[in-house]
Symmetry: C2
Subunit: 348 residues, 2 copies
């Protein structure tokens, strides 16, 4: 026998399905007459109707819950917000979600953990994934029938919505600025370069700029570690050890630009006098830092806002795959000085 | 008439309440005989039993969801993480929750919004509230039967668990350090002072230190605005305008210490040469800043970890009210210089 649905109950009681929901939920705020209530309960009993307890809400198919996943890209790293970029992005996501009556389910799963079970059990209306995510785990998410927005990844996916920036252009703008200011030996300071991540694109932009100035890539200028203040701080010493005499550095995150400033200061050197730095993101920190950082500005708040809006549009029946590339620009502040390109001496 | 409970159904059907749950949830994984299933359904009909649709799961009392509320203390402030303190705290909460199989429901409701509806609809296992929260909304939360942990508030509540630090002691340690270093005209730079918030206690500590040195409170030294980089930056100019010739400032958050550094620099003055600063919290930023900030260190990560552990202990049946005061200490870095207390001239 077919299991009775809420529609069957509504029909039998001669009321709308929402009235049935109200009665079942015993919502006191709704003014439903005792008679109607009685009729609904009779229909429930007659039809042996059992509400689907897994449905989070009977009055709406929506749970008004958006899952936000900030993968732990570096195993062993305990906390997700050591880079303030994530805090600023999450703030914007939370604010936009709240304004639209949604809440956030926040997770920072380990790289080998699938999100499918979590999303299914929690019944999220949509999922926002920030940064790199294992391709295998991503394809599993196709099992779910909820919209997924990928933020800052270059994974190709035929269904999932994407939002990001042109990271390669960013790398080009950052490095070109240093070249235009006379720098030739430019360190590339970043976390590890992964296949579909943003760092690889920023690195390609670094190479694009070098080739615009007919310079070859010199691998001795690459300083690859982790996206952290501490790593960048240690790079200052590593630069001295290698003795490449860099006059400038492109750091792929503001937090690393900050680390370079501090690392140099510990060696009694200063930015931009001894090393010019362009960083990336333009988090609040970039303008608070001293010197303030010349950086590639991206609209972090807009990224979060758009991610939520994509979920809302999809939930409203917008079927097409949405893709958004937000604009970026070079923000000139105080961490770069002009030098004579023929000048031979660098800080290190 | 008393509404039938799941226990009544179990008794009438001669089965356990979990068997009733299994049947109602129609869990195929459980081997329950057709006869038993039949008996349960009969009891459900006879007793007119309506499952509580708000209970997320009938088989387990846990939803493994912890609600985290970061109230918007300043209306109109869009984003919750403009102070990195919140990002660091949330990171620790998320990490600890995840390690224990829990997820976070993140909300930053407006001051006038009650959280009761949200918590009830989402069926959270516990609630962590960070910072000030309207007393009225707080008392409404007593309606819920889930553990609540209040972080950083001095609201008196007989039931809710609390975790915080001795903010008054922190204010004392910060100000006493400045006094011991020879400073006498010490600005107090903070957000607005609210009744049960941490700022009021830090202010009392500031006054305690002054009285230790037999100094009276001079209200001209109070600079009250918002807990933000921008406000503190503007304070530098306000100090000059007032002409109080302060030689030092106690800023009640690191983010404000950063703002003072920047504000002074814009006036071609430096910290600590022209103004000594002690701030509060010891967020990552405090050591990244230049000069690094002498500040009151609190273990932000431990605060988050303990908050989650309190929820878990309560969920495991620990009934007593849990209260925890985490240790703090003065962290001496580079933003304070010793002066001659008899020296008359301040920077402003």
């Amino acid at each position: 026998m077919r299991r009775a649905s809420i529609k069957d109950v509504a029909k039998a009681a001669g009321v709308s399905t929402s009235t049935v929901s109200y009665v079942l939920n015993q919502k006191s705020s709704e003014s439903i007459s005792a008679q109607t209530t009685q009729r609904v309960w009779e229909a429930v009993r007659t039809l042996n109707y059992v509400p689907n307890l897994n449905a989070r809400s009977l009055t709406s198919r929506r749970t008004n819950l958006i899952g936000v996943v900030i993968p732990q890209t570096e195993p062993g790293k305990e906390f997700m917000f050591s880079n303030p970029f994530y805090g600023e992005l999450l703030s914007a996501i939370e604010y936009t979600a709240r304004r639209n009556g949604y809440h956030l389910l926040l997770s920072g799963p380990e790289p080998d953990q699938s999100y499918v079970g979590i999303a299914r059990n929690r019944g999220v209306d949509g999922i926002i994934i920030v940064g790199s995510y294992p391709t295998k785990s991503l394809s599993e998410l196709h099992q779910l029938s909820v919209p997924v927005v990928l933020v800052d990844t270059y994974v190709k996916d035929p269904v999932f919505h994407t939002i990001g920036i042109d990271d390669r252009l960013g790398g080009l703008l950052a490095t070109r600025h240093l070249l235009e200011m006379g720098h030739r030996r430019i360190a590339f300071v970043s976390g590890s370069i992964s296949e579909q991540g943003v760092t690889q694109k920023r690195f390609l932009g670094y190479m694009d700029a070098l080739s615009e100035f007919s310079l070859a890539l010199d691998e001795r200028h690459l300083y690859l570690g982790s996206v952290s203040f501490e790593f960048a701080q240690s790079v200052a010493q590593e630069m001295e050890r290698r003795g490449n005499r860099e006059t400038a550095a492109f750091a792929t995150a503001d937090i690393m630009g900050m680390g370079l400033i501090k690392g140099l200061r510990h060696m009694n050197r200063t930015i931009p006098d001894d090393l010019s730095v362009v960083s990336f993101d333009d988090v609040d920190l970039a303008r608070m830092s001293d010197p303030s950082l010349t950086t590639i500005h991206q609209d972090i708040a807009q990224k979060g806002i758009s991610a939520v809006e994509m979920i809302l549009a999809a939930a409203d029946g917008h079927k097409e795959k949405q893709e958004s590339i937000l604009p970026i620009q070079l923000m000139v502040r105080d961490s770069v000085r002009r030098i004579d390109p023929n000048q031979e001496s660098g800080a290190f």
